[in-house]
Structures are given as C-alpha cells and as structure tokens.
Amino acid sequence: MSYDDVEIEDMEWNGELQAYTYPCPCGDLFQITKDDLRLGEDIARCPSCSLYITVIYNAEDFADAAGKKSLEPSKQQPVAVA
C-alpha cells in the first residue's frame, strides 16, 4: 500500500543518487530514477524500509530522455544519504 502520493515537482533531484527523492518517515529517502520514469514506473521506494510512494508525473515529460531538463531543479543542492 502506497504511503503517500507525491507530485514530481515536490521531489528533489539528487545528483549523487541520480534519482528524484522525497523524505521517508524512517529517515531515509524515497527514490526513483529518470529511467524508471521513462519506463512509466510510478513507484518510488525507500532502500531502508518497506514503504513506497506513488509519484504523480506527466509521462510525456520523460518520454524523450535526451533533451528534457526542464524538470530538473537547478538551484537545489544534492542531499546525500549514508
């Protein structure tokens, strides 16, 4: 069962993990890669626990991998996890 529904715009791009992330209540981060999104995957998982969230996004924004950078926030700093 999905813990929450989260819009892609509320997720943060993490350069180190190469994934969009969102805080997990366990302290770690829910993660989903661009490849996942490209394939139509909408589940972001936490590597530390059983929880996952459903990512709300427009599939067309990720359909063409190469030229799409509009959704990647430039100002946000990467947040690394141990």
């Binding site: 069962m1 999905s2 813990y3 929450d4 529904d5 509320d10 943060e12 805080p23 209540p25 366990c26 302290g27 770690d28 530390s48 626990c49 059983s50 929880l51 100002k75 946000q76 700093q77 947040v79 690394a80 996890v81 141990a82």
Partner: protein
C-alpha cells in the same frame, strides 16, 4: 510475538552518567530505532530494536534534545549545543557538510551565546539564544532557513529579519520553520520555507515557498505560548490551552491554509506532531490523538477506500489514547509515524510504526496501543525526571535525578 525486552539490552557502564553523578546529578540517556546515519549516538551506523544506554561524552547534563529526520541536537544546561547524526546538508552546524557524525560534537560557532532553545527539522536546524537571537543551518532549498535565499549552510547563521525582535522559540518541520516572538502581542508567529500545503497559513496562489519570514495570519490577538512543526503540519498552543493547527490535512482531511482552532473543551498543555497524526496532552494528564486510527496501517486512506470526501479540519475528533488504564501522562512525543509518552510513574510507553525498532520493544512490529518500554533494571520511580524525544524514525529518553550538593556545569 514479542521478544523479552530486557535480555539484549544489558547496558554497559556509562562514563557520562558517572561524570554527571560526580557533579551531583545522575543522568541516563537511552536511544533506539533507525540508526543508519549515526543518529542514535551509539557510535554505530545501525538500527537498534531495543533501548541502548549511551555513553555520550558531553561536558554537562542535557537540558533538552531536538530530534530531526536523522540528526539530534542536544542542549546542555550551560547553554551549549552539541549535535550528531546525518550532516549531509549542514544541519549539524559543524561548519562542514559531512555525511554523518557518530558522536556528539560541539557547535562551536554558537559558543559566544547562551542557547536556550533548539529545533531539528528533516534536514535543517534552528537555535535560539537567551537574548532572542535566531540562528539556522542545514538545507535551505525551500527557504526554510529564513535567510531570504535558497542556499544551504553548514554553520548557524543569524536570521537577520529578527535582528530587532526577540525570538522566543523555533520549530522546524520537513521543509518549513515556525518562529514565536516574545513581546509583540499581534504578530507573534512567523513562518518561512515551503508553504504549498498551507503550513505558513494564507499565501498568495501558486506560492510554493518563501525564504523570508512572514507573519502567520489568523493568530492575531491570541496569546501563543508555543509553536510546533513536523512534516507539513504546523500548530500553536495558546495561553488558554487552545490548539490551533494548519498545513497538510490529517488523513482523510483537506489541507488547511489558515490556523483553525481545534474544537475541544479540554485545556491543552502540550502538542506533538507526526507526519500524519497529532497528539495533545491535557492539563489533567490525559493524552489524546488525532488521525490515530491510521497507526499501524500506514498508507493513504483514499487508497483504502475509506473516504469519499475530504471534510474540513473542524470535523477532526480527538480520541483518547487507548490502553493507559487511567494513568496520568506527563509528556508526549511524536515521530513521523510513531508515538511515545511518559506516565506519572516515569514509565515510557510507545506505539505506532515499528519497522526500524523505533518502539524499543525488541521487534519491528507495529502497535496500535501504547506498550511499556523496558529501560534497564532501575525502577522507573527511582528517577525524578524522565523526558522523551522522537525523531522521524527513532526515539531518545533522558532520565535524571539530582542528589544533594552544588551542581556544576561545563
């Protein structure tokens, strides 16, 4: 189903406790739950399913702790600040964004001040001096540091907006912060950071975040005595014991973009917020919960098919925390998805989500009713004071008693 809680916890002797005892105070610090960022202070990067007695090397007794997403801030009785756990966004205030810090380290840049209040958010931190200065550090991506930009910083920086004001309290949530001022009877509560879910009160449409403090509208002429933030929730307590909440809606309820008074005839003395629930403690020592029936059943109520509409928050009903058998409650605390309390006889009880051992019961089970946590072999009533603190997925307890003799500090 449950393992025996006392077996594996056999505490080693604590040097900090011994040092404190020499100074006339006996103090124990315990931790358990998610620990892979070093937030438990055990010196290890691992979860603990049972309470661990810590040997923290701190120069004096701890007056309070603030537990965040994966970091902890300890305030000493001498007004000094120590922090440990995840530091990747600079939230430890050590001057460098280290991955993590396994043992308490002083926040040296604040040593010219006597710090009187601290708060730990998901990945940012706030510090208030006894002279009313506010400092913040850590992740600033959403403006949650209040410096007027989206920069992160690894050393506490004074929030210049409040230079001419006296800050009384700071409360850090997931991506926002609340500030309570002293003195000013009208605009006492300010907020900054993410406001998409209403956590800063009324904002103009499409504003997602603000990096400069703004007064929270809707609390004018109410004497607020404390502010609380967790997840995307905000709350304030009035001197008359009334509770106001705003921000993300509790499960099944819509977001609230303006402070709403919780309808209850009871006089409330403490509020604790999780990411999807809230606890309140009445003057009479009764613990009540909002959104509590979700505990142990993590997930969207909508996905469960339990709600067809989203009623207003005014329809929220406080329910009595079950299973306490009339015992009075002294203190409450809430993690993201777990809860904890201390009873009048100094017993610690926990319930909610337990996957990381954050309930300290020796298992990873969820519990919908409070369960007694076993902390070593001393009887709970040996202690004069017992305080509980929850981070997102972990829990800390400090127990102390003062023997006669002068108290030394730092």
């Amino acid at each position: 189903m449950m393992e025996e809680a006392t077996k594996a916890s056999s505490p080693s002797s604590s040097s900090a406790a011994a040092a404190a005892a020499a100074a006339g105070e006996e103090e124990e610090v315990w931790s358990w739950g998610a620990g892979t960022d070093g937030q438990l202070g055990t010196g290890r990067l691992a979860d603990e399913h049972l309470p661990r007695l810590l040997s923290l090397s701190l120069p004096s007794s701890i007056s309070l702790l603030a537990c965040g997403g994966a970091h902890v801030i300890a305030l000493s009785s001498g007004g000094r600040v120590f922090s440990w756990g995840r530091g990747s966004s600079g939230q430890l205030g050590h001057g460098e964004a280290a991955t993590n810090c396994l043992t308490p380290k002083a926040v040296t840049s604040l040593e010219g001040y006597f710090i009187a209040g601290v708060s730990a958010g998901w990945s940012h931190s706030g510090f208030v001096s006894d002279t009313g200065c506010l400092f913040t550090c850590g992740d600033g991506s959403f403006g949650q540091l209040g410096h007027g930009n989206l920069e992160s910083c690894s050393s506490p920086i004074e929030v210049s907006y409040f230079l001419s004001k006296h800050v009384d309290q700071i409360a850090c949530g997931m991506r926002h912060s609340l500030v309570l001022l002293k003195g000013d009877p009208n605009n006492r509560v300010y907020g900054f950071g993410s406001c998409k879910r209403g956590q800063l009160g009324p904002t103009s449409n499409r504003t997602r975040s603000t990096s400069l403090p703004q007064a929270i509208q809707g609390l004018e002429n109410i004497e607020i005595v404390s502010v609380v933030a967790s997840g995307d929730h905000s709350a304030a307590l009035s001197s008359g014991g009334r509770v106001y909440n705003w921000g993300r809606g509790f499960p099944g309820f819509s977001d609230v973009h303006s402070p709403i008074e919780l309808s209850s005839l009871l006089r409330i003395k403490q509020i604790a917020l999780g990411w999807n629930h809230a606890l309140v403690l009445t003057d009479g020592g009764e613990a009540l919960i909002l959104g509590g029936n979700r505990h142990g059943v993590l997930g969207n109520l909508e996905n469960l098919g339990l709600t067809n509409h989203r009623p207003d928050v005014s329809a929220l009903v406080l329910e009595r925390v079950p299973g306490l058998d009339g015992k009075k409650v002294m203190q409450i605390a809430a993690g993201a998805e777990h809860s904890a309390l201390v009873t009048e006889d100094m017993e610690v009880m926990t319930w909610g989500w337990g996957e990381h051992g954050q309930l300290g019961l020796g298992s990873t089970c969820d519990w919908i009713e409070p369960q007694r946590v076993s902390l070593g072999h001393t009887l709970p009533d040996h202690w004069a004071k017992c305080s509980i603190y929850c981070g997102s997925g972990f829990t800390f307890v400090i127990r102390s008693r003062t023997s006669s003799g002068p108290h030394q500090d730092d």
